[in-house]
């Protein structure tokens, strides 16, 4: 293992060195820092050009300049963006923060949705649902991201802002949404015609009821979750998690989930006081999330039983969801003042924060959310298609294996076959793709960031390349290339650790 790591790191360093050298030469050839001066009509043009050549060392050979840049790197000096004279290190730190927000949200969402839909699609192979999902994923996969982004920006943002000004959905539209939701669920659940009609009815009626409630209670003007909705949402997810991962007959897991929801509900009002009285930051919230998961785990452990592990994991997951809902509720409570502060147009189309907004921690979080909405939607739409395709084909492959037949033959319920034997093995190929995808996203949300003018890594790269500033471009490349090499090593290690057939020391 150590031997493997050492070899890979050495090879990675060599690759990094050569890649950076080649990119330095390429970027140097691609940019022309003197262009604006050459086109200028200033009387002292020659003098200005000479000054800039002197500033940027342009009369030195490019190879020599590369080694000068590299040498500075070892002393911790990333160089400066010469047009604004800002140090590259500061630029990179700001950019990475903004990009990480975007990438984390987008990756988690698209992974959860994509894998779920892909697996369901594989389980219903050759059904109407499957064909629909295949077509949808092909369509999304073929969409140019910049086109979607501009479309969302010009259409969805403006449309949604207009809607929020006068939040009334026509009843015919609500009925239409309800029918579509009913169709979706009945196709996804499948089964005999009678069962499909049942599912269709339940899904359509509950969707209709939900929208009717949102409409009639004025939810759009004053969004909140509150204790009742919290009970419904958290209780529903507790039952769903326990039923899928532990089975309906596992009473201990079910009770763990419900107890955890009860604890969350009991803490709802005290938490309002706590949130009001302390000065929050991201670390405190992160700590609270960990604490909630620990409590959920403990509840599962206390229910005991021979397989307490699964109860404990259910408890932790339910606690995380319940805590998340309480957090979202807290964020929603600042919606009315935020809405007023932005004069009724809360969905922004550029940047990553509203300048000079002020307000407490929650306003900041809400502001970050609204800025993340459209870029995340763009990234999710496209990444979702890829993950659906991966997980669908991987699940199909797994479900035709002999060990699945063995599991069925020894009489396991279908749920256990799919979740324990199918689902886990489906994740193996995904585990190698996801780290590489995340890294590519960190460097590669170039288009989304450009369209929405988010000051992230991609935007930094595009702007510096356009402004002919080589040092920020190289700083960006250094980060992305290093991360790519690390991601590849991590992917190999993950692969070896979850698939016992692979040995790294071979």
């Amino acid at each position: 293992m150590l031997n493997f790591l050492l070899r890979r790191i050495l090879a990675g360093l060599a690759t990094l060195f050569v890649a950076l050298f080649l990119m330095f030469v390429l970027v140097d050839a691609a940019i022309d820092p003197l262009q604006d001066l050459r086109e200028s009509t200033a009387p002292n043009k020659a003098q200005l050009i000479a000054a800039r050549i002197d500033l940027l060392n342009l009369d030195t050979n490019v190879v020599v300049r590369f080694f000068m840049w590299l040498g500075n790197l070892f002393t911790g000096d990333f160089g400066v963006a010469w047009r604004s004279m800002q140090p590259v290190k500061d630029l990179l730190v700001h950019a990475i923060g903004s990009t990480l927000q975007l990438v984390t949200a987008a990756t988690i969402l698209s992974l959860v949705i994509g894998v779920t839909v892909g697996i369901v699609s594989a389980l219903r192979q050759y059904s109407g649902f499957d064909y629909g999902i295949i077509f949808l994923s092909f369509l999304l996969y073929s969409l140019p991201s910049f086109w979607v982004a501009v479309l969302l920006k010009q259409w969805a943002a403006i449309g949604f802002n207009d809607f929020l000004k006068d939040p009334v959905i026509a009843w015919s539209v609500i009925a239409g949404i309800a029918v579509v939701a009913g169709l979706f669920w009945s196709l996804a659940v499948g089964g005999r015609p009678a069962r499909r009609w049942q599912v269709f009815g339940v899904a359509a009626v509950s969707t209709f009821a939900m929208f009717a409630y949102l409409q009639l209670s004025g939810w759009w003007e004053r969004p909140q979750i509150g204790p009742i909705l919290l009970l419904i949402l958290a209780g529903g997810s507790a039952v769903a998690i326990a039923a899928v991962f532990a089975g309906v007959h596992n009473r201990r897991a079910m009770w763990t989930g419900l107890t955890t929801v009860g604890v969350g509900l009991a803490l709802y009002l005290p938490m309002q006081v706590v949130f009001d009285s302390i000065d929050e930051n991201n670390w405190i919230i992160f700590g609270l999330a960990l604490l909630a998961m620990a409590v959920g785990f403990l509840i599962g452990r206390l229910y005991g039983g021979p397989d307490w592990g699964i109860s404990a994991r259910t408890g932790a997951a339910v606690a995380f969801i319940t805590g998340g809902l309480i957090f979202i509720d807290q964020v929603m409570q600042v919606w009315p003042p935020y809405f007023k502060a932005l004069s009724g147009r809360p969905i922004p189309t550029f940047g990553d924060r509203t300048p000079g907004l002020g307000g407490n921690y929650w306003v900041g979080v809400l502001d970050a959310f609204t800025h993340l909405l459209l870029p995340t939607a763009t990234l999710v739409l496209i990444a979702f298609a890829a993950y659906t395709r991966y997980s669908r084909s991987s699940m199909l492959e797994v479900m035709s294996q002999d060990y699945i037949r063995t599991a069925r033959a020894k009489g396991l319920p279908e749920r256990a076959v799919v979740v324990r034997h199918g689902f886990r093995n489906t994740l193996i190929p995904l585990a190698t793709i996801v780290p590489i995808d995340i890294i590519t996203l960190i460097g590669g949300a170039v288009i989304t960031e450009a369209v929405f003018a988010r000051p992230g890594m991609g935007q930094l790269f595009v702007r510096s390349l356009n402004d002919a500033e080589i040092e920020p471009v190289m700083g960006y490349l250094l980060i992305t290339a290093t991360l790519a090499i690390i991601a590849n090593i991590v992917a190999d290690i993950i692969y070896a650790s979850i698939d016992p057939r692979i040995r790294l020391d071979a």
Binding site: Q125, Y126, F138, Y141, L143, P144, I158, G444, I447, T480
Partner: protein
């Protein structure tokens, strides 16, 4: 495909569906089987028709190079009188009408239909050139690395790692800035020079597996040179992987090209590209939305049809691919033709009962 060496012989594990499949392909060459399977894939056929129609429309309407097309505008004339107020499209479905400017006009009065057709031509050209360049390099690198192994393999694969280290769009942007101003074809070739990596890894894998097969030994014993073995014996057996991944490469290439042109690192005026049109016209979305819709729709049409063709090819070339009819079709067939079942089971070895291998979907 002349050297296909492994006819699909039924092994002991074969099942009812497999027998149907085998009856389907009995007495056909590999090429015929592939063609049949491809034409059975409806999505691929629709994709092929859509792509063919788009190419035909783009080439004949505005002409190619010096040859003029049948369309009256070139997309470069400015100051045409606006046919509709604001230059709105004259295309309408009810009643069906084509009009002077079916896709509308921009603020200078230029005809958008002609501009979109020029853009489609550029994008298609870039797509095919990237496909050819990346395909050739990928196959060569993969074949040499996989066939010779050893030092050459290590060197080539380290080189591949090097290219993969930097995200495609980033290296594409730098190369596009370097070559986009020169001409579209130089831009396409240089993009092809960086997009071959996935293909080369796949081809290497195929070659590593195929070079151990008996027919390669046989060819070597018969005195064939390495070049002959690579091109005449191994390559035809790897053609499925190559064609499929080249097709998928082309669909991502068109998205990359349009994205780079959108960012301003790709094709620059006066050459028209679809991505560049979207970039130019995105500010006019609220006043002249058609300027933004049409180029995007054509990108989607091209990428979607190439993706579907790729999927059809993958199904056609994959020997493991079995067509499993839906439960309803299977039940109907059983009901309608009870005698067929009898005929079928008699051709199957006894050890595979009627339920063997049908464990899926219960």
């Amino acid at each position: 495909m002349s050297t296909s060496t492994h006819p699909e012989t039924p092994s002991s594990g074969d099942t009812v569906e497999n027998a149907i499949e085998l009856q389907d392909v009995v007495g056909l060459s590999q090429g015929q089987i592939v063609r049949r399977r491809f034409f059975r894939h409806k999505g691929a056929l629709v994709g092929l028709a859509a792509l063919g129609g788009t190419i035909l429309l783009a080439v004949t309407s505005v002409g190619i190079g010096p040859i003029p097309g049948w369309w009256m505008w070139t997309g470069y004339e400015t100051g045409n009188p606006m046919s509709n107020p604001g230059g709105a499209p004259t295309l309408s479905l009810f009643p069906p009408a084509w009009g002077d400017h079916p896709f509308g006009q921009d603020e200078l009065g230029r005809d958008i239909f002609a501009r979109v057709m020029h853009g489609v031509q550029t994008s298609l050209m870039v797509m095919f050139v990237i496909g050819i360049v990346a395909g050739v390099i990928g196959v060569l690198v993969g074949a040499i690395a996989g066939f010779y192994r050893g030092g050459r393999d290590t060197a080539l694969m380290r080189f591949t790692d090097l290219v993969i280290t930097v995200p495609t769009i980033v290296i594409g942007a730098v190369i596009g800035k370097l070559s986009g101003q020169i001409s579209a074809i130089v831009f396409a070739i240089s993009l092809g020079l960086i997009l071959w990596t996935t293909l080369s890894r796949l081809v290497r894998g195929e070659f590593l597996a195929l070079r151990e097969r008996e027919f390669v030994d046989a060819a070597r014993v018969a005195g064939a040179s390495s070049g002959r073995i690579i091109f005449k014996h191994i390559l035809p057996n790897a053609i499925g992987t190559i064609i499929v991944s080249t097709t998928l490469l082309m669909s991502s290439a068109i998205l990359l090209e349009t994205a780079l042109s959108y960012l301003g690192f790709g094709i620059t005026p006066p050459t028209i590209s679809l991505g560049q049109m979207i970039q130019t016209y995105q500010q006019a979305f609220s006043t002249r939305p058609w300027l933004f819709w049409w180029p995007g729709i054509f990108i989607v049409i091209i990428a979607l049809s190439v993706n579907f063709i790729g999927d059809g090819l993958r199904d056609a070339f994959d020997p493991r691919q079995k067509r499993i009819p839906s439960e309803r079709k299977m039940a109907n067939a059983m009901k309608a033709d009870g005698s067929a079942r009898g005929a079928l089971t008699s051709t199957i070895p006894n050890q595979s009962g009627p339920m063997a291998g049908s464990g899926y979907g219960q």
